[in-house]
Subunit: 335 residues, 2 copies
């Protein structure tokens, strides 16, 4: 069903992106134009509402977006949240960052706002947004990979999000790409995230800086991993720091190895890459991911594959969530 | 739909397994009991029909199975064949072993036998058989891995075979598990098949034999890779050849690493392992695959996972094909 036919004129939906560091809520009209938007930091102890719980912040950011939109009639709320979570019930299983453990997020928002609420993994919802509104809307089989501080993935099979038995399929960042490789934040070794995330890159680049092999990085960030963000990596490469470029290219190539493996397993029509690193260095990432797929996917499976950068930026999760709840509303209306 | 309700009493279907070395056709009644069966070598230049083409052999083996069954009314034929192939059209794209290139197998069999014909990848069809008739018939999400001379895989998502955009998804054997690892028959490096197939094991074990570190193997097989089959590996381990056991365990553990990656990506409810190596050493393979999943899959995704050995042996592909064509017949009847 065309996205423009899901809602009727005068109907609105809310999309909510609960990130590790910030929350973004947006109100969309029936043609999925943003008519109101609000942002907040995710962590408690920040901003003016220093004591507000994550739940109170979520409610406040939705309310603010609705008010900015002029409080129109909202029909539903679609949420992308860090996991693990159960998309069937909308229960967040364990997100220490937000202080949630077996927290019934969908139910709480349903009670508060009196409309249907859908909750899914943030990267799933972002991939869905990119699929429905980005450059790959014509594909039935899509894989999304989003390298940043961590590495998330979302999988569309036959035009539907792949959830699997646990509801949490698509943990692309924790595929083992280097058995006996470096330790990952999850406790395993050699995960894609441990060799190709921004933190993994920063670790190598900080060592270069410490050895005076990356003077631009040394000058801007010292040897502090947290300071070595995607933007400064891109500028260091523009400034000709060849060893920084080699480190980033190697990490990007590992994203390509993982993409190649996903092509072998899932045979998608398109691979979408996004997130902070890709936004800062789109050409480099496209090159290395295509090279990784060429080297690691079977010829017959990668023959017509398209590799695209994400198109929606910060709005991907909110748009995906809004579309997913609008689809559910349209389905219920049909029956 | 229950398998026993797909066909009506008095209706029969044929399942055909076209392997690299042998073909097996079986006729099934409406309760999927074998009522006739026939086997043939796949390669031309063997047996009495030394000049028969692969197509002639396929027709002969089906005809022989039907005759053994007393020539009952057959409603359809379901075929598992080596790929790549297009399951939508039943065209075999390229199988040098059988001399087929863009060969319209489904169409030829339809013309010859006058009934609907379905063709899919042999490992897909085998996984389907194991799913419908084996130990995991109650699961909606299943991954099958079959290590042998090569390594094949089949994936069931939401109760349907995953085909992907190309029709050839599930190339589990060509996932890269060791970047820069040994060369694979496909031309890539570090594929699961290159480190965990029977040939990869035989390569290491032959070297042990050459160095007098595996006297049982040396005595039975010399240092000939082709002679080192699954059965002799199992007997060498029973005879206490510790280094042979270590080689096989390492290969089996790599199957477990791949299984762990597939759990992270697909979140299946069950993993089924089968094929020659697993049949010869089921306990060893179960142990190592479970260990690989424990080490490499995310805790939330592997929590309730079941790892099972295949139950149907040589009949898996024929039963899977028979069931798939019976389902199509039942679907058409409903509409």
């Amino acid at each position: 069903m065309d996205v423009k036919e899901l809602l009727r004129p005068g109907e609105y939906v809310v999309g909510l992106d609960i990130g590790g560091t910030k929350m973004l809520a947006a109100v969309f009209d029936h043609e999925f134009r943003v008519v109101g938007q609000s942002k907040k930091k995710s962590k408690t102890g920040t901003e003016s509402d220093v004591n507000a719980s994550a739940e109170e912040r979520v409610i406040a950011v939705i309310t603010a977006a609705m008010q900015e939109a002029g409080s129109p009639p909202v029909r539903g709320i679609g949420v992308g949240s860090p996991g693990p979570l159960d998309p069937a019930t909308g229960i967040i299983i364990d997100t220490p960052n937000l202080g949630w453990k077996n927290f019934p997020l969908a139910e709480r928002l349903r009670e508060k706002f009196g409309v249907p609420v859908l909750v899914d993994n943030d990267v799933n919802v972002g991939t869905y947004g990119e699929w429905r509104f980005g450059k790959v809307a014509d594909c039935l089989h899509v894989v999304g990979i989003f390298p940043g501080t961590g590495i998330g993935g979302g999988i569309i099979v036959d035009g539907r999000l792949l959830h699997g038995f646990s509801g949490a399929a698509g943990e692309v960042g924790h595929m083992t790409v280097q058995p006996d490789g470096p330790f990952c934040g999850c406790g395993k070794r050699g995960c894609l995230e441990a060799v190709a995330s921004r933190v993994a890159i920063a670790k190598e680049v900080a060592a270069l800086a410490a050895r005076e092999d990356a003077p631009y990085i040394k000058q801007k960030c010292g040897t502090d991993l947290s300071a070595i963000r995607s933007g400064v990596l891109a500028r260091a490469i523009q400034n000709g720091e060849k060893m920084v470029e080699a480190v980033v290219r190697k990490a990007a190539y590992y994203i390509g190895i993982a993409a190649g493996n996903l092509v072998n397993i899932l045979s998608p029509e398109a691979v979408v890459i996004g997130g902070g690193l890709v936004e800062a260095m789109p050409e480099l990432y496209l090159e290395e991911v295509k090279r990784g797929i060429a080297d690691h996917a079977m010829p017959f499976l990668r023959r017509k594959i398209r590799v695209q950068t994400a198109a929606l930026g910060d709005l991907a999760v909110a748009m995906g969530g809004a579309c997913m709840i609008a689809e559910r509303i349209a389905e219920v209306r049909k029956t």
